[in-house]
């Protein structure tokens, strides 16, 4: 039986819809999620099906969107709170970092916070400095909250289901650039296709170099791998899916095979996904290293508006190809 193809936004919508049908405690809240069907159309049709009780439009008040989700989750509901974009989640940093991530530990297990915080992430399209971030590493810095971001429709579906069903808080980000991208859905149509939290995925096997990445980086890695294969370079691509928990097993296993790594991320270079992975690899696989680890990231600047400057600042396929060529 051929699998369905759906754009990532529809895969997310499907997952959320099914989880809301399955579990009465699940509800969504956020700016324009109801009456306006969600800025990114992930909650299209929800208010019609579930009504205003379970599909809640909020004022432009991220602090309380984040904080109220924490409280509702502590008290027994299963909130899926939406930040229109991750940039606005900065207004809720305290609720996410000081409360969502810490409450279970701080009260020694007395309270749990099974909330999901969804947010569109990534940059491009001249959104300018304050609207151009891919800041998952900031959130992943803190123990107590999971952080994940899918690269394709099937993963989006399975990862979001896992997030909603988990007992821990999850920051779940969705690349704006991937929402419209069609991709195959899982063959398992039981409604229980749930990808385990913290497990990465080998997207493509190879022998010469490993590219470690997540979200939109997978696309650049695939394009780069195609180009590099013409020069006879065999690239392995690992999609980590989760920044926390981080699947170090899959990283080490891949690296021990290829002995070379390029880490690709859409985010900024300092104190980042790339720096974390590079540190973990050298600590744990030093004897297997044949070359320095390379990182491809955005330029270390607040993102400019002007279109050519913006393109210069962002990672792309060519930058991945060059990084690989430097170490093989």
């Amino acid at each position: 039986m051929a699998t369905k193809n759906l754009p990532m936004r529809e895969a997310l919508r499907q997952a959320l819809l099914e989880e809301m049908r399955r579990d009465e405690r699940v509800f969504v809240m956020g700016e324009e999620v109801g009456q306006w069907q969600g800025t990114h159309r992930v909650t299209r049709g929800f208010i019609e099906e579930f009504g205003e009780k379970r599909v809640r439009d909020t004022p432009i008040s991220e602090m309380v969107i984040g904080g109220a989700a924490v409280g509702a989750a502590m008290a027994g509901l299963r909130p899926v709170a939406e930040f229109m974009t991750i940039n606005f989640a900065f207004l809720a940093l305290d609720a996410l970092i000081n409360h969502a991530a810490k409450i279970h530990y701080m009260f020694d297990g007395m309270f749990k916070v099974p909330a999901v915080f969804r947010a569109a992430t990534g940059w491009g399209d001249q959104a300018t400095a304050t609207h151009s971030h891919m800041p998952e590493p900031i959130f992943a810095h803190f123990p107590g909250m999971y952080v994940g971001s899918p690269s394709n429709s099937a993963d989006a579906y399975g990862m979001l289901k896992a997030s909603i069903r988990d007992e821990n808080p999850v920051l779940f980000t969705e690349s704006i650039g991937l929402y419209g991208r069609p991709g195959p859905m899982p063959e398992d149509e039981s409604g229980d296709y749930v990808l385990p939290i913290g497990k990465g995925n080998v997207v493509q096997e190879g022998t010469d170099v490993s590219i470690f990445t997540y979200a939109r980086g997978v696309e650049w890695a695939k394009q780069a791998a195609r180009t590099l294969s013409k020069d006879g370079v065999s690239v392995e691509i690992v999609d980590l899916r989760w920044l926390r928990p981080l699947d170090t097993d899959i990283i080490f296993e891949s690296f021990k095979k290829t002995n070379r790594a390029v880490i690709v991320e859409e985010s900024l270079p300092m104190y980042s996904f790339g720096s974390e992975l590079a540190a973990q690899i050298q600590e744990n696989c030093f004897d297997y290293m044949d070359a320095p680890i390379k990182r491809v990231s955005a330029a270390d600047v607040p993102l400019p508006y002007s279109k050519y400057l913006e393109l210069m600042a962002l990672p792309d396929e060519d930058k991945v190809v060059s990084a690989v060529k430097e170490i093989i």
Binding site: L91, D300, Y305
Partner: protein, 327 residues
Amino acid sequence: MARLNKETLVDWYRQMVLTREFEETCYQLYTEKRITGVYLHLYSGQEALGTGAIGNMEIGKDHIITAYRDHGIGLMLGMDPKVLMAEMMGRVDGSSGGKGGSMHLASRKLNFWGGYAIVGGHLPLAAGIGLEAQYNETGAFVVSFVGDGASNNGYFHESLNLAGVWDLPVIWIIVNNGFGMGTATDRAAGNVNLHERALSYGIKDMGRVDGQDVMAVYEKVNEAAQHVWSGKGSVLIEAITYRYRGHGVSDKQYDTAFAEELAEWKENKDPIVLFRRHLEDKYKDISGELDDIHEKQKEIVAEAVEFAENSPFPDTEEQLYANVYVE
């Protein structure tokens, strides 16, 4: 109000017409992809607010700050339309060398502290700018525009409360255009009389003003300025207005949904039409002069477009990394 001679009023008319012309041209350029990017929020329909408020300012001394719907503010203050259009297109001759774009216009010289894109994010900045005026006893005040949507987030509460505690010389003007994106004010605010919030901060509640009537806005802000000058601290005004071009120009769904309401505002409450009627009642034979203004502004905007399109794009590493820090 001695300043309100014919010359002043005609200049206000010019500002408003220039802004409308500029905005509608931006709309056109955006549809032709000559202005690119996701965001473009137009000021069309709200011209009386900017002009009426700025009419009270001593430009270069008093301060002004706003959100991303900022083109009109720049133009009304007297920024060069060429420079603004170049910024809109991300060119080197733009007000921020193309780094800021449509949502982040500013002029250091004019004490225009910028347009800001995080809802409510500029409000504490307004408080801080007011603090400088108070600290250095400059006698200046700050005009801070606030979206109705923005008035619901924490920045608003903390900023107005601080202004109340410290008696900061800030005039907060809530631009109540009925919506934050598609969400109507009454779906987002527990009390829709937004001006009444002043009471909880101990600042003066100046009630509402018809934001389509430039004379009324001028007078209201004038009263506010008197209050601030007398050392009594901050005030809150709620101006009722409407936006003609949806939230941003890419958000067509809102225009469609509220088409009837929008048509009603355009038909009966257009700030430029209303002001023209006022001027024609007041000064006989002014019609020709006003017509000329329209023609002239078209030319000015066309020249701005030409200038901007001939200005180069920044595209060097040096430009990319310049000004991350003060060197």
